[in-house]
Symmetry: C2
Subunit: 188 residues, 2 copies
């Protein structure tokens, strides 16, 4: 998001601070919801100084965006099973597992909340969506290169991701494996 | 939500207070996002005493739920066109119009935010969803009574409502009439 992130060291104290701060943000969102805590609250929870957070992330928005992107990317590697149906089913199952965990719901709420937070929030949300869309398009492109007839990324958003997101956000019924596979099969 | 609502008078000062308070809530959610204001903020914005709000709604959660339900119900009467495709297209167009307005996005965010707000929030959200689901099921039942092959309400949620909600919440592309009709046609 900004050059401070480029200065992050891959291990050592910096990595421990980042991990503690990320976990503190996830916990606070899960417990209290978004919009109810400050950089000071995160720092206290993570056991670091406020200045460590400001130095590294600049402000709360950049921090929230970094947490969301990092968790999303770490948790959902894109599958490469050799077939489109296999890839999409594995992808959908990964997303279902991610968003039905307590951190996942916090992440979804964060994505929604970021969009109500002015230009900085919108940029953070766009980064989140652009990264997800890029991963998905590359999976669909691989299928086309194999000669398969692949849907657009927006069709996957509309008919596989959106139903799962809304069911989790609104607490409507669990995401069973049959249900998740059914969304993919219906799309294809 | 509770017996205070039963005591509401249909017109006069009570109705004016309710309208001012509802508008204040919608404005505050739209401007600042959910979770950033108190009963006192709503009262100040609406130009009424805090005690008027506590007397009528009891607490902020009940007020938010009342605002969401009232706006949703007032804005989306269920269509009755004589055919399932006509009803669903009109319904989807109504929802699209509602959620792409500034108040509609606030309403969607409210529904999401309510679910992160403990038992009271969950009850408010469930009321909101149950009312919407009831309206939808009655439209689908009418189609079945005419001998049409109607989808389940959950299928409509998954493949018509969820894509529109997610596109608006995440700011992905506009909801054009062709797109909205296409969601219905694809479902049927």
């Amino acid at each position: 998001m900004d050059e401070r992130q480029g200065a992050r060291r891959p291990g050592g104290r910096g990595a421990r601070v980042a991990a503690a701060v990320h976990q503190a943000v996830t916990d606070l969102i899960g417990e209290r919801g978004y919009g109810t805590f400050s950089v000071g609250d995160v720092a206290a929870r993570a056991g670091v100084a406020d200045s460590s957070i400001y130095r590294r992330w600049g402000n709360l928005e950049n921090l929230l965006s970094d947490v969301a992107l990092t968790r999303l990317n770490a948790r959902s590697p894109m599958p490469d099973t050799g077939s489109l149906v296999g890839d999409l089913r594995a992808f959908a199952a990964n997303v279902a597992r991610e968003i039905t965990g307590p951190d996942g719901l916090a992440l979804l709420r964060l994505a929604v909340a970021l969009s109500s937070n002015g230009p900085q929030g919108l940029r953070a949300r766009d980064d989140l969506l652009a990264e997800r869309a890029r991963q998905l398009r590359s999976m669909l492109d691989r299928a086309r290169e194999r000669g398969e007839d692949a849907p657009d990324a927006l069709d996957v958003l509309d008919h596989v991701l959106a139903p799962m997101y809304i069911r989790v956000l609104f607490g409507v019924e669990p995401l069973t494996p049959d249900y998740v596979d059914g969304l993919v099969d219906r799309l294809l």
